[in-house]
Subunit: 305 residues, 2 copies
């Protein structure tokens, strides 16, 4: 037998895992072991520190419930979700709209609205308008595209945070017209803290991070034959626009409401944004937070940041 | 604002974490982020794969109960516990006995026995003898050292697996005599599977690993002024002696029972093993599975492999 020490143990683990049948699982686990071990060696991780880490990882899993997914939140706040999505998105066509995180407040089957409707039931701040077109990468409008939109109200709360699953508000589903156009009225969203009462919140506090996301409006846009688009548009004047705690902002997704006499809402401050959808391809469709059906079917998975 | 892509996001995360007050936490988290991101990039981790990983990590935490610590088991089966202990143990004096994992079956306050007693209440296989000395690194016996010993019975079960917390068996506490000597009778332990009904078990099966530990006897030895010793002695003729699923075996800890007319048990097959304890030092005392009080106080932590 060979004795295991801090230099030989990594190869011993890889040797024992070499019998793995699935070649991709074998590759992933080998890389995970190499990086985990290198991490421990690089910082000379002590047993007391690793016990703390084991307790932290345990708490992460135990904080997950039917309505909270702390593990995704950890992945989000470590920039890993954004990285994995970026690795995936590098294969997309450059003209498609950038993606952003789905987050935990997506809800299947949000109410249908007609173009021009207001998705906020009782606005107590001035309404803003939104209009845009869903088009393919040649710029042709996609008739009948479905646009699901959801956001916080003007006080920074999603309907689920106020009403549980009882009532829907400031969210809705629209159908693009024959030229791919759609429009609606809403209120200005407000940024918010990620959940700070769990182990991820403790980490964020220990790191003196503010824990905030800049104000944004979520979109999930689908059309037959096209790749599902999950994205968010971020308010350019938000104080956290450059320091999103989950690293979801791209400059192409930053918007600013303004008066526009040529818009469908000439009397309101209005956002204009067009969405480019890539054709569906065989591979690489799933993304973190992008396929709610997969997300909800995964064991214990519901949320995100 | 700078746009984040698969190459720039790592630095953006490190920048956002740079406000961390505690310098060691800052160092650990920076290394964790670098290695996590490098792992994702190295294998081009896909969102679907990472969602699976998020589900796995969630299940690990959720499998933990008051009597089961799946996160430690994961750490053990990835060789990380042994690595972290080895990093720590490289600072020990070379003459001290090698350490090994505490495992999940340690119990505080096991019954006191007198030298010569048998710790198995109802042996249904031939007894074996054990004798040894607890000494310092100059070879001087340590009078009054406390020796806690625990093991499986001849069928491969710990008392906790058979009786819960109701009854103690094949475990006990001995006190070394004025010269540091102690001895007892027991039965030959049998190796066993780690718990295979949780997410770690699923991983082990997918990797076609046998999931077994070679048969062993656990020791936790303490004496005032000395560093606590947690170790195990492994049966040399066990078929899994070279492929322990948790990487706990060192060649210096391999033993073989044999007849020895000069032993305290001339009529039995007997193991002779002496334990060298290092003096306590200021730093680095804790190790994974080595300090039960710390282990039990950590949130949700009870076990190990």
């Amino acid at each position: 037998m060979h004795d295991l020490d801090q230099t030989t143990i990594t190869q011993a683990v890889l040797d024992q895992m070499a019998t793995t049948t699935d070649p991709r699982l074998k590759e992933i686990m080998a890389s995970a072991v190499k990086h985990l071990h290198a991490f421990a060696r690089d910082i000379n991780l002590t047993p007391a520190e690793w016990l703390f880490g084991i307790g932290f990882i345990t708490q992460i899993g135990q904080a997950c419930t039917d309505s909270r997914q702390e593990t995704i939140l950890l992945s989000d706040t470590l920039g890993l979700s954004a990285l994995v999505n970026a690795l995936h998105d590098k294969t997309r066509l450059d003209d498609a709209t950038d993606t952003s995180l789905l987050g935990p407040f997506y809800r299947d089957a949000s109410p249908e609205f007609a173009n021009g409707d207001c998705i906020a039931a009782h606005p107590d701040s001035p309404e803003i308008g939104f209009y845009g077109q869903v088009h393919d990468l040649e710029g042709r409008g996609i008739a009948g595209a479905r646009i699901e939109v959801w956001q916080t109200d003007e006080h920074g709360f999603y309907d689920m945070q106020k009403f549980g699953n009882e009532k829907s508000d400031v969210r809705g589903t629209f159908t693009a017209d024959a030229l791919g156009h759609f429009n609606f009225r809403t209120v200005r969203p407000l940024g918010y803290f990620i959940p700070m009462d769990g182990p991820v919140g403790s980490m964020i506090k220990a790191q003196n991070r503010h824990g905030c996301r800049p104000a944004h409006i979520h979109f999930l846009i689908t059309a037959p034959g096209f790749r599902e688009l999950v994205t968010s548009l971020y308010q350019g004047d938000d104080q956290y626009i450059d320091s999103d705690v989950v690293f979801g902002v791209s400059s192409s997704l930053v918007i600013q409401a303004k008066r526009n006499p040529a818009s469908p809402f000439p009397s309101l401050e209005t956002i204009h944004y067009d969405f480019g959808l890539a054709r569906a391809t065989e591979s690489g469709e799933a993304r973190i937070g992008a396929d709610p059906s997969k997300l909800l079917k995964a064991p214990g998975l519901v949320g995100g940041a």
